[in-house]
């Protein structure tokens, strides 16, 4: 038997409202295709370009616990801010982030990454230097590659020494589109 949409939606709302979820997620439509976004009671924990549910849900369950449920209402604020960003009406995010469990160096790098302004770029080496370890540009590359919250933590703004895009977890075309949206490249 199929559960009527209204009833299904009611349960998902009630579960989030009652604070019973470790993680609530939803799939958000965007310029770059569907994004899976997930929040915990600590904040935004995940944005994925590859919303292939099964693997993502397992990952979310490992991060914060097995009570993972799609619950669109819980993602209202995230959706609003992302929509405004993609419409060019927002240049910074006001979302709390859940970065629990990440090692100290990663947190330092992500902290510096968050300061790279909209529409500008920095190199891997510069970011390594700002995080207090100028020789760690390769490690910075790894941190960018494993960034759980792309777009909001703007790893797309980190480029090679001569401005080449180098790589992106979501694929280079997406990195290029984000930089174009922000006017960082033409």
């Amino acid at each position: 038997m199929t559960v009527p949409t209204r009833l299904d939606r009611q349960f998902r709302d009630a579960a989030a409202r009652a604070g019973l979820l470790d993680t609530a997620y939803d799939v958000i439509e965007s310029e770059l295709g569907p994004l899976l976004a997930a929040v915990t009671d600590h904040g935004l924990a995940r944005i994925s370009f590859d919303p292939e549910p099964e693997r993502e849900l397992e990952l979310l369950a490992r991060l914060a616990g097995p009570r993972v449920l799609r619950s669109p209402r819980a993602l209202d604020e995230t959706r609003r801010e992302l929509d405004a960003y993609f419409a060019g009406r927002r240049t910074a995010f006001d979302l709390e982030l859940d970065l629990r469990g990440l090692p100290a160096f990663t947190l330092r790098v992500l902290g510096e990454l968050a300061k790279v302004p909209y529409g500008q770029t920095a190199t891997y080496g510069e970011l390594a230097e700002r995080a207090g370890n100028p020789r760690a540009s390769r490690a910075v590359g790894t941190v960018m590659n494993r960034n759980r919250i792309p777009i909001v933590l703007p790893c797309h703004r980190i480029v090679g020494t001569s401005g080449e895009l180098v790589g992106y977890g979501g694929g280079l075309p997406r990195k290029e589109r984000l930089l174009r949206l922000e006017g960082a490249i033409l």
């Binding site: 038997m1 009833l7 579960a15 019973l20 369950a61 097995p66 009570r67 799609r70």
Partner: protein, 155 residues
């Protein structure tokens, strides 16, 4: 080598797998209108307990048991008969099931599930069979061999 323990799936996966069947069961027992409230209550109860589960085995039987409980509660609140569940106290001197429940912890899983569903929750054998994914005969056998095993242990 360690025995593989059934992993607890993300709640979404569990919900997607069993929501339809739970709703069907509740509609049969409560009617379409009341089934909606009972459906939400069932999965909210499941969600409250989900973080404390120790393994992901028998999740189907587990959620059907919760749904059955919710349906019984709803009928009781409405002053309706609750099916096979006797509401009278145990005047025949038999101990209440709650007093024996802890003993079932030592039974093999299938027998334990059958005994708990039959005597703890007063499910019929066809419902127990559905919950365990076995035949009615097998459910009946599991319950009775579970009870025999308990008797031997108590004796």
């Amino acid at each position: 080598m360690m025995t593989a323990v059934a992993a607890i799936p993300p709640f979404e996966t569990f919900y997607a797998e069993h929501a339809g069947e739970v709703l069907g069961m509740l509609r049969r027992r409560l009617g379409r209108e009341r089934a909606d409230d009972a459906f939400q209550e069932t999965f909210l109860r499941a969600l409250r307990a989900y973080g404390r589960l120790e393994h992901g085995a028998h999740l189907r039987a587990w959620v059907l048991t919760i749904a059955s409980r919710v349906a019984i509660d709803a009928r009781r609140r409405a002053g309706e008969p609750t099916g096979q569940l006797p509401d009278v106290p145990h005047t025949d001197g038999r101990p209440a099931y709650e007093e024996l429940a802890f003993l079932t912890d030592t039974l093999p899983p299938k027998e334990r599930a059958a005994v708990v569903l039959r005597y703890g929750y007063d499910l019929d054998y066809d419902q127990i069979a559905a919950a365990l994914g076995s035949s009615e005969d097998a459910a009946r056998q599991a319950a009775s061999s579970g009870v025999r095993r308990l008797r031997r242990r108590i004796a």
